[in-house]
Symmetry: C2
Subunit: 347 residues, 2 copies
């Protein structure tokens, strides 16, 4: 019986496909929409040359955060940061934020003021305005939702669909710190205290990610062909660029940038945290080999780092593959199955 | 101890004030933002003359809807309609919608496709594009959130703050039908069947409100000085225009437009439903007396009705009041306390 299928039977990506198909064709495209469903953000040209970039992201209690693991100011920072990160991945400048708070009603005012101070400090850092929003009663769980608007007058934006065979694959910063921080948060306090020297920075990477706005602009200006922000882990997100660009990829695990603290604390697992751990909010991008030196220099000039970890190759069948040179110097091939928030179980 | 105060102690509007004050001043204003927190929608001029209008609204299961009272297509219609209605109240043209679905995972795919068909049909009717969104796991309750973008090239938008002493107060359509429909939905099926002849239309007014986009444009073009959409009832929403405009109001209950079906089915309560019932999604507006005839004619030309139900007077103290000429031909004065989704208990 196909008509009794449930969300968790077909998963997040199957659902999005079905829902998009349920819309009339006129509602899916047109009206100055340049980039729609399926990229980090939508791009709209209300008038020719003026690009408005829009993204939205939600954080639900006990799904995306635990109130006993985060302080409220960090949570305010993070709810805005994950949206700014989507704008950064398009090479757009963040401008406005709209905040919806779903509250039970028994939250402390002081805590919510801390939430807004955390959010406000990050908004100020990026020159953003908090322009409105909504407060609704949400009796069963605290939920936050932010919509962020940016703009770009650079003639184009960075999408997921521009990667070409021959391009190099790069990432900013280091990978795995956020996933390592999450593991540390799950430890009991005694175990955690034993690791305190390095733990704090990793926990902060998880609770207070820094969106890479300046680096997104640099990548756009120095010839990157595609970009996205890393929220579902390298092996969860790279397939999205590969699918959108209809290409395959090769990754060299030996070149993945991983912080010394992650390697030290997770001797057996660090490469897994870096390859599959989520919420790094670093930028994953592609660029032609000729742009490599200029990108490295410009990213460094903006206070960041860029590391090239693989390259783009033509797609052999009708599905992208990822060929991985492992730490053990052996080649293996992954058939990407993106991380799905509902399932179905990966095969 | 003030530092243990909770959301329900200070209520929705007290909270919004405190949170806004917790933001750095630079984050609350500037950057081309023309209208910010506190109106139906925010208005942003990314370039001079180009106004982008943004609004966001959420529907939470068992707070804003009950899945046993609505069909999914109507729910899809309504979640977009309440956002379009905010754009209509600004006199803006709806352009883009972004949809966030918070799902448990056990929802039927067929139902969600119906949701999108309902939403898609309304989007098509208004020439809107569904440009993106987000699907998140929300284990405790189904929650929907829509952000809508519109634009306006009419040189201005309709805000809540433009009402002047001497203006007339008007509403489009009739009031109370949605609240009447909600009452009917709460009846048991046998009682409901007895009223079936007129009940259907009232229930539809509640489940599938029609946003007044064409009327908002007409009001803007024919000299209205302020407007908002009626979601919290006339006596809940009029104070928002009065406060924003720093004026008081007078309303004549005998002139409130109420559908015959509402009067017939709710003999004792119809005026209460019309004055305090929410979710009509009609437009409440002010206009100088000289614009009355032109507005009536133009609204009629656009297929609607406009009724003038009172006028604006100077504010006597530092808080707006509403003087009401009752159905009983007696004057009474209301000190507005807007409907609050969290409390505190009204005094």
């Amino acid at each position: 019986m196909t008509n009794d299928r449930r969300v968790r039977d077909i998963g997040e990506f199957g659902l999005i496909e079905r829902l998009s198909a349920a819309l009339p064709a006129q509602v899916r495209d047109g009206g100055g929409l340049e980039v729609g469903i399926g990229d980090d953000a939508a791009v709209w040209q209300p008038v020719a040359g003026e690009r408005v970039v829009v993204t939205t992201d939600s954080l639900i209690e006990n799904v995306h955060f635990r109130l006993d693991w985060t302080d409220w100011a960090s949570l305010g920072h993070k709810m805005l940061a994950v949206n700014i990160s989507d704008l950064a991945a398009m090479g757009a400048d963040p401008k406005l934020a709209f905040v919806t708070l779903g509250l039970r009603g028994d939250e402390r005012i002081d805590d919510l003021e801390s939430l807004y101070r955390g959010l406000g400090a990050l908004a100020r850092q990026h020159g953003m305005i908090v322009a409105g929003g909504d407060v609704v009663r949400s009796p069963r769980a605290v939920a936050f939702q932010v919509t962020a608007l940016g703009n770009s007058r650079r003639g184009r934006v960075l999408t997921r669909s521009g990667a070409n065979a021959g391009d190099l694959i790069g990432v900013t910063g280091t990978l795995g710190a956020s996933a390592a921080g999450l593991r540390l948060l799950a430890l009991n306090p005694t175990d955690l205290r034993r690791q305190a020297a390095t733990a704090d920075r990793l926990i902060e990477a998880h609770l207070k990610p820094e969106p890479r706005v300046a680096l997104g602009t640099v990548l756009l200006e120095h010839g990157a062909t595609s970009a996205m922000d890393l929220s579902d882990g390298l092996l969860g997100d790279l397939p999205k660029i590969l699918s959108a660009s209809r290409v395959s990829g090769r990754i060299d695990e030996r070149r993945i940038p991983v912080a010394a603290a992650v390697r030290a604390l997770f001797a057996d697992e660090w490469i897994g945290l870096a390859m599959r751990g989520g919420e790094d909010y670093e930028l994953l991008f592609t660029a032609p080999p000729g742009a490599k030196a200029a990108i490295e220099r410009a990213v460094q000039g903006a206070g960041g780092t860029a590391t090239f970890i693989g390259d783009i190759v033509p797609m052999e069948s009708n599905r992208p593959t990822i060929e991985i040179m492992g730490l053990d110097n052996r080649l293996r091939t992954e058939l990407p199955g993106a991380f799905d928030h509902f399932g179905p179980a990966e095969s």
